[in-house]
Structures are given as C-alpha cells and as structure tokens.
Point group: C2
Chain length 233, copies 2
Amino acid sequence: MYADISTAVAPKLETAGLAMCRGLAHQATSRIMAVSAMQKYQPGECLFSEGDDADGIYEITGGMLRLYKLLPDGRRQITGFLGAGQVLGLAPEGTHIYTAEAIAPVTVCRYARAALDRLLDDVPGLARRLLSVTSHELRAAQDQMLLLGRKAAGEKVASFLLLMARHQGDGADGIFIPMARGDIADYLGLTTETVSRTFTKLKLAGVIALPTPNHVDIPDRRRLEDAANGTDG
Amino acid sequence: MYADISTAVAPKLETAGLAMCRGLAHQATSRIMAVSAMQKYQPGECLFSEGDDADGIYEITGGMLRLYKLLPDGRRQITGFLGAGQVLGLAPEGTHIYTAEAIAPVTVCRYARAALDRLLDDVPGLARRLLSVTSHELRAAQDQMLLLGRKAAGEKVASFLLLMARHQGDGADGIFIPMARGDIADYLGLTTETVSRTFTKLKLAGVIALPTPNHVDIPDRRRLEDAANGTDG
DNA sequence: CGCAAACTTGATGTTGCTCAAGCTAGGTGG
DNA sequence: CCACCTAGCTTGAGCAACATCAAGTTTGCG
C-alpha cells in the first residue's frame, strides 16, 4: 500500500549529474569525478565518526542518513538528516565534528579530501560551490538553534514536519517519515514520548493524519505552519 | 578598579592586519582593502537586520556584537556573540538570515559584497579564506545545537563561561562579561532569572567568583569544565 | 540625590521528563 | 497458516526543572 523506505527516501536524483559539480564546466566535472568513488552503507553503518580524520567529502546520491554529536554520558543531539543531493564532510580542522550514520540504505559519492583540496585552487568555481554548500548548512543550523532554544514541543514537531514536506518536494499532501521517533526526538531536543504525544495531539486537533506511524498527511498546510510558529491558538 | 567595556572587549587585534586577508599575498590584500571601508556602531545599533539585502561583508576590528533571530511573537534566539577578528555577513541567498547589533561600541571593516564577489575568482586563496570562516561558524553552530538541545541549565552556563574564557585568551583567571543577563539567556535558551540563579549556584559551589556582575573569576578551570559536561556530581 | 536599568531572590505554575505499562506490526519458525 | 517474539510506538501517572510573576536590591548616571 505504501512505498517502502528505499524508494521513498531517494526521490529524485538529478539525472544530469552530481550536486558537487552543479554549474561547473564539463572539464571541471571530469577532473572532480576522477578523484571520486561510489560507496554503499546499510542502516546503522557509519560513514565516519566524530573525531575521525576528515579524509573524505561525501555527496549523497540516495537514501538518508543522520548526523549527530554525543555528550560523554551518551546524550545525543542529531544536527541534521541528509538526503539525495546533499554534501557532507567538509571539516575545517581536518577532523570530523559529528558522526554520520545511515538510516535507510545509502549510496554516496566519496571525494578524496587531499585531491579535492588540490583542485580547489585549480578548478574555477569549485571553491564557490563548496562555499555555497557550507553556507546552506550554516543557514539550516541557525534555524535549528532558534527551534531548539525558543520553540515549544508542538512548534518543534510542526516545524519538523514542514521541513520533511519541503524536503520531499512539497507536491502531495502525504509525506514519508524515514526515521524513528527517537531520532526525531534527538533532533528536536525532546524525548521519544513527547514526540509521540505531540503527534497524537496534532492528529486529534485535525492538523495531520497518521495512516501509519511513518506516513503523515497534511490536509491543511497553513494550519501546520501556524502551529510551527506559535501563530495558532 | 576594573577595565571598562571598550578596552576589555577589544583585546588584541593583530597588528599585522585584518583577518579577512590572513595568509594572503600582499597584492591580494591591497585589492581587498580597495573595496573596504571602516565603520563604527554604538551599543544597540544594527549593522543589518534579518531579511535585509546582503550587500556587505563585515570584519570586526573592535568591540562586540550579538547576532540573533526572532520569532513572530518576539521570542529571540541569539546565535552568537562576535568580537575582534571575526567575520560576518556571508549570506548564501543574498539576504541576511539574522540581525547583527552592537553590544559594546564596535568598529568594523566593511567589504562591498559585489566587489568582493568579483575578487573571488581572481584573488588566489580568498575563496579558501571565506570557506574557512564559514566552516568555523558552522562548527560553532553545531556545538551550540548540542548545548541547546541536550544540556541542562547549569551545563549551559558553565559552557558559556568557558567559551568566554577561551575567547579572551585563556590567560588570566578573570574574565569580563560584556553582555547582559538577558542576552546570555537568549543565547542559551533560558530566561534571565534562570541565568542569574545559575550564576549564584556556581558561586555558592565555589566554582566561580563574581566580584561584579560583569566579572567572573575561575579559580579552578577543571571544575568548570566538569560542570559544562555534566561530568561532575 | 533621585531615577532607571539591570540584577537578584522568592513563590508559584507548567511543560516536558522519567518510569512503567500496554499496544501494534513485521518477521520467524513450527 | 498461525503463534510467538521483538522493536518501535503509544499512553498513563508522578515529578523535576525551568518558566512566570512579583518584589526587592544594586549600580551607574543625570
């Protein structure tokens, strides 16, 4: 009845090519591809961990993964969920500052860091491309700080659902939630129980429908947006 | 008895020059300086606001400012405090995503965005320099997400004090706090009252001393670090 | 000296966490 | 094909941390 995870979370890889090379000349593209390799990861597998040497940069071509940081006692903060077309692993100090782990089966294109670094001075537009990637990550991080520091549970969950909807192309009412409640909780700074209760409240209020725990229908986008900003009752 | 704000928060501008040009050739430096201008802002004045066209990039040469985002109902999240040597205003979509406002009297060097953008393809190393700036911001943002989402009030305040200490050169025990309790609260996702009470608790526990509300002494750095990670009792 | 802004402290309230128990669906083996 | 088992989700009851509301107190400035 519903699409399974592997098809649902890898919706639309641009047939034209990889995001890393978007807007670059053909010759630049082929030089970049020369230092790349495709890899696959199963759910639960790590691409790299916090503290590892950052010797690779990755672009996701399919699937979904979570990025997170841990405190010494095991508390976890998920800093982002990444899907097809997104780039990760650009570490400033040569060391990864978060762990990257597959949620759904992931395929990535891996670029050797040292080689890419050498191309940086050489390939026109590449640095600008990477700057754009990092700036977008930064923008997302700042939105998330506002959410974590100042939004109430209901607003957090509503914001999360809107993010997922936007991420899945905004077209249909129905969105697929590939991650577990515990992952959502660690992303929003809540507990599993609070996330679950908040889903139930939104359902009872008629703002969303939950045909299965992993599928959310949004009959009225506007009401969800109000819930996300506290602009509702 | 204590240094006033203007001297205390502008400790050590590299005499050699501006951070923007760090590591660049002399000729590159002069081309960058050609598109720059010095400006001053008094406490409370805005360099730019969330949503404004991003037509300038700024480097702080002295003073301190706060960056923040607002929710429609006025709740505020401060995403960072910036001091001498830090760069801001690199907006991905041509629109600023936060407001930048002076806390202490600020002097900045402003680079016209369009001009700097043109230099990007032209001046070797400049793109790399900006990439490094953005990557550091991103790293700070991710640390802050962990703090906002998963740390308790005591851990948040202790982390903040360590950040301030690091920022001020780590040398002496005494650090100067140029911002108000309300600013600290909006940075840590707390209220003014909770910040104040938490200072008092740390003082009573002997972890810090508070000779004035704006001066903190840290007799034992290690204990404060434990408090910041929840590694203490 | 008086005022305003910022800080501190206290009393009370609410949100979301903790602990604990059922529920549901998917997968496995008889 | 069905019973069982497990992992993840949901629900409930009680509680703790932090917010809110409301005074005081201190500090710097005109």
